[in-house]
């Protein structure tokens, strides 16, 4: 019961926060991207945290989503809302296609094969100029603001859409985690052979999660495209700034937990911005350097993620209560 109250309180704060920020300003943009990256990391968490398949290729699905909805608007004037589902569908298919050859791969083999898949998608987007505009990238057309056209003059609605998306994917994550599927995924993660022998269809479960994760990631790609307005293959299919970053966010926060990715994003995105703000006018590379140092420090401090700060606080709290 207490839990629920806490959760509702957090959501309420999150819902009010955007209103306090200037609707055309900088911080609301940062907040929007923070929420978006939290959602992306949460989706990654389904496969990376529950199934322990460290995917480093989620940019592939993300980019598919961004491109699908944007191309549909540009070429056919179809609303990004519909494009989002079209992108999700294609993202799911892509997840299936990559899941089949990588199914048997374990651990780092899987990670690096998916990394390659992300790169494959990037090259395709770069080469298929007639469809994607090639290396030059695509701009989301500016249409008169309306909810139906997913177009707003200000960033505020985008922030709310990102918040809702985050809540939805978090609920999905938590539902999977607690369900039979969650237990099966943990079993597969720790010992696939034993999992099979006690009756878990490892292939099926892996495919299911891969597809769920692919669909959701692609749908978030649409949200991103609508906020960022312009993107090119290097942006949305980027290993460093999408694939590895979402994994990093989830891991820094606490992989396999529902709160982890949110904590991770709340930390990484604003800190990165802050470093850029504070140090990037100085010597070139300084802001990134400091960011890297902070990253290392945090991992050394909490190798199992920020979430463990709560765990130890809780432990101290309950110890006090007991004594």
């Amino acid at each position: 019961m207490k839990r629920w109250i806490a959760i509702l309180a957090v959501i309420a704060i999150a819902a009010v926060l955007p209103l306090l920020l200037s609707p055309t300003g900088y911080w609301i943009r940062v907040l929007t991207f923070t929420l978006l990256f939290a959602a992306m990391a949460q989706v990654w968490n389904i496969i990376g945290g529950l199934a322990n398949q460290t995917s480093l290729g989620h940019a592939a699905f993300f980019g598919i989503g961004a491109y699908t909805s944007t191309i549909l608007v540009l070429k056919f004037g179809i609303s990004p809302w519909i494009g989002m589902f079209a992108g999700g569908f294609l993202g799911g298919i892509a997840a299936l296609i990559i899941a089949v050859p990588t199914m048997r791969l374990q651990g780092h083999y899987f990670a690096l094969a998916t990394l390659a898949f992300g790169e494959v998608m990037r090259v395709i987007a770069n080469v298929w100029t007639s469809l994607t505009g090639g290396p030059v990238g695509l701009s989301v057309p500016f249409v008169p603001p309306s909810i139906a056209a997913y177009s707003f003059k200000q960033l505020l609605p985008h922030a709310y859409i990102a918040l809702i998306a985050l809540i939805i994917v978090t609920v999905i994550f938590e539902a999977i985690r607690r369900s039979a599927m969650g237990y099966r995924l943990r079993a597969i993660k720790e010992n696939p052979a034993a999992a099979e022998v006690i009756g878990i269809d490892t292939t099926k479960v892996k495919l299911q999660t891969a597809v769920i994760s692919g669909v959701l990631m692609a749908m978030l790609g649409t949200l991103y495209a609508q906020v960022a307005v312009f993107f090119d293959p290097d942006t949305v299919f980027s290993a460093a700034s999408i694939s590895i970053r979402v994994a990093l966010i989830a891991i820094l926060g606490g992989v396999g937990t529902a709160i982890g990715p949110i904590l991770g994003a709340l930390f990484i995105i604003p800190v990165e911005e802050l470093m850029n703000d504070l140090f990037s006018s100085g010597a070139a590379g300084l802001s990134q350097l400091i960011f890297g140092v902070i990253l290392i420090a945090v991992i050394l401090w909490r190798p199992r993620g920020f979430i463990t700060v709560f765990d130890s606080l809780m432990a101290r709290f309950s110890n006090k209560a007991r004594s």
Partner: protein, 286 residues
């Protein structure tokens, strides 16, 4: 003829891919972590060798041992001071520690050395041997020779020496290795330092034909991963086979497809090889 030329070219660059990747596979093989910062040590190796060339007048290939030594020292510190602290943490924490390291090294060298693109001029930079209608680039050939020698030496060392044996034992079961009297912490340090040292060595060797700047690692990092995974993670022989295979696949693909698709073809082949042999070309099948 162009086919033969492509094979030769592919093997030559492949040998170099092999040596820069051997270090990565060694680090993985012993510590079980994928070192994302590995390519940064390539950059360090290139810088060391560049400075040796610019200020001491050394040929980059001659300076390669110096690059090795510097990277070895840095690797020793990094492993002992940073990575050792998270050895008990989940392996993702270790991996992402190396991501942090990547950012720090790249931007640190941007601060330290500036953003200029630096390259060396050597007496042989435009030399080549001709064999009938075939060309064999001299800088590539030198790099290839150094790489292969280095790879073979390491392979032999790991196979036959007590040291190599101890290193492999540590990789497979650190607890039991300690019971055998092996100082596993030391092994990790040496493995990491040796691994990044070798990559730096490779960096020096390719300097005669590659430009160095702080971001140069980014051009090689995915290639290095492809090489070690294709060959079989953790296998030194695998890195050699993987490197040669990647070189040849790239060279051959450019005969039949636009060069723009070079990496696409490479990655598709890569994913398919893994689908058939999940443990890589040379990895043990278990």
């Amino acid at each position: 003829m162009s086919f033969l030329q492509a094979i030769i070219d592919g093997l030559l660059v492949g040998g170099v891919y092999a040596v820069i990747s051997i270090g990565l596979t060694l680090v993985y093989g012993v510590m079980g972590i994928v070192n994302f910062a590995q390519a940064e040590f390539l950059m360090i190796g290139m810088f060391v060798s560049w400075f040796a060339w610019a200020y001491l007048g050394l040929d980059p290939v001659v300076a390669a041992p110096l690059s090795f030594a510097v990277a070895f020292g840095i690797g020793w510190l990094v492993q002992g001071q940073l990575i050792a602290r998270v050895l008990k943490a989940p392996s993702v924490a270790q991996i992402f520690l190396t991501v942090g390291l990547l950012i720090v090294i790249e931007n640190g060298s941007l601060l330290l050395f500036g953003s200029q693109f630096r390259s060396v001029t050597t007496s042989y930079q435009t030399m080549s041997l001709s064999l009938g209608a075939l060309f064999i680039s001299v800088p590539y050939l030198i790099a290839f020779g150094m790489s292969l020698a280095c790879g073979l030496a390491l392979w032999w060392f790991m196979r036959t020496s007590w040291f190599g044996r101890a290193m492999r034992a540590t990789a497979q079961n650190p607890m039991a290795a300690q019971l055998m009297g092996i100082d596993t912490a030391l092994m990790y340090k040496i493995a990491f330092a040796l691994g990044v040292g070798l990559t730096a060595f490779g960096g020096a060797v390719i300097l005669p034909y590659v430009t160095v700047f702080p971001g140069v690692g980014g051009q090689f990092v995915v290639l290095m991963f492809t090489v070690v995974v294709l060959g079989g993670l953790g296998s030194v022989a695998g890195a050699v086979v993987g490197g040669l295979a990647v070189g040849v696949i790239q060279a051959l693909s450019s005969l039949f497809f636009p060069i723009q698709l070079q990496n696409l073809i490479l990655f598709i082949v890569f994913i398919f090889v893994l689908a058939v042999r999940p443990q890589g070309l040379v990895g043990a099948s278990r």
